[in-house]
Amino acid sequence: MSLVERLDPRTRLIAALLFALAEVLAPSLAAQGVGLLLAVTAALVARLPLGATLRRLLGLEGFMLLVLVMLPFTVPGHPLFSLWGLSGSEEGLRQAAGIAIKANAVAVALFALVGSMEAPVMGRALTRLGVSGRFVHLFLFTTRYLSVLEDEYRRLRLAMRARAFRPTTGLHCWRSIGYLFGMLMVRSLERAERIDAAMRCRGFTGRFPSLDDESRTGPGRLDLGFGAASAAGLALVIAVGVAWT
């Protein structure tokens, strides 16, 4: 088990939240870069698998690519280079770099700190941090039934393919996809009603009981140590940010 997994889940959540805040608010590229280094350090401590992490990051890069490419050409400022007659500004380039660094740093830190946490563990930690019970239950129900709904979607999709449906452009295709999502909605609603019935059958009257021990264990030595190290790291990000602006 890695060091990160031995931490109290609450420590991991708080560290991730504070890091994301500090990184997003960091005013200079240098400070953001220090943040990225911190995130990578956390990833090393958490022993994240390199390949899988890069693949997950690639999804994020794909999502940002268009914005990053557009920024140098759309932000007005000191022209730095030109491409096909369009001039790219230094300010735009800086902004693009900032966004790329921040997004990757926050993503890597999240993978490292909360990526390997099971949903029930996270739900419990959120409750104990004082997050509203309603939100936590919404979160837990979502994680519980996402896979059920996905299975339902996959079954419907398979049934369509079994009858020679191929996505093309055309009214027939759009209508069929419309039916697919309509049917998914109907089934989800019916599923929700059946779950509600099943819950009432077991005496549910609107309040969720909990099986957790409410023993107020304070942070352990490991958590305090990790907290101190994170605080030092974040102080460094802030110091660099203040010094270089």
Binding site: T143, R194, I195, A197, A198, C201, R202, T205, L211
Partner: protein, 214 residues
């Protein structure tokens, strides 16, 4: 002494096609009644009427000693008549097996320590002890069915209403579940198309057709 008694119960989801049309039914202590009938004849509806999930258009429901009318009346009925749903995914909504089995007892006002005790005991009795801390949605279909039975039994019901309990189970799990059910003391209503299960468990059979029982 009957545990559940339905008198002249009628229900229709749309007025032109009544599902139940004057059904009389009684479940006595110690009985295991097989409720038979073709698809769509209202067998599930009848089970849902018994525990008040569906309020019939006409007729009356008597359960555990008195007539039940309002939602509040049925809260007690649902604790005493455990309904096992057709699809275990509907029933297992808690993150872990232990929490799901404890859900009923905690709702009935048991303390956390008592609920833990019950969870361990029920899972042990059904041979599911190893699953206690597993995440519910990662269980196999057969495990889900057995755990949802455990969740129902944890409420210590006096009667069991089983909606196609062996549906879509593999041979081994089906055998195991039938053995478990055969060893339970509770009165049961069993909706099933599984001939072997009916033959092994039922002490009486009734068939629902055209809205009435025969």
């Amino acid at each position: 002494m009957d545990l559940i008694r339905l008198e002249r119960v009628s229900h229709a989801f749309d007025a032109a096609h009544p599902v139940l049309d004057g059904v009389d039914f009684a479940l006595n202590a110690g009985e295991r009644v097989a409720l038979l009938g073709a698809n769509g004849t209202g067998k599930t509806t009848l089970l849902h009427v018994m525990v008040g999930l569906i309020r019939p258009r006409a007729g009356s429901v008597h359960a555990f000693g008195r007539e039940r009318r309002a939602e509040a009346d049925f809260v007690e009925v649902r604790a005493k008549a455990g309904l096992l749903f057709q699809d275990a995914d509907d029933q297992l909504f808690c993150p872990t097996v232990a929490e799901d089995v404890a859900f009923g007892p905690l709702n009935l006002g048991r303390s956390k320590a008592e609920a833990r005790e019950i969870v361990r005991d029920v899972l042990e009795r059904l041979g599911l002890g190893a699953l206690e801390n597993r995440v519910t949605h990662k269980l196999s279909g057969g495990q889900k069915r057995l755990v949802s039975l455990a969740a129902v039994l944890a409420m210590e019901p006096e009667a069991l209403l089983l909606d196609e309990p062996t549906n879509a189970l593999d041979e081994a799990t089906r055998e195991r579940l039938t053995d478990i059910l055969a060893g339970l003391p509770q009165a049961m209503v069993i909706v099933s198309h599984d001939r072997e299960v009916v033959e092994r468990l039922a002490t009486r059979r009734v068939t629902l057709a055209n809205g009435t029982l025969a």
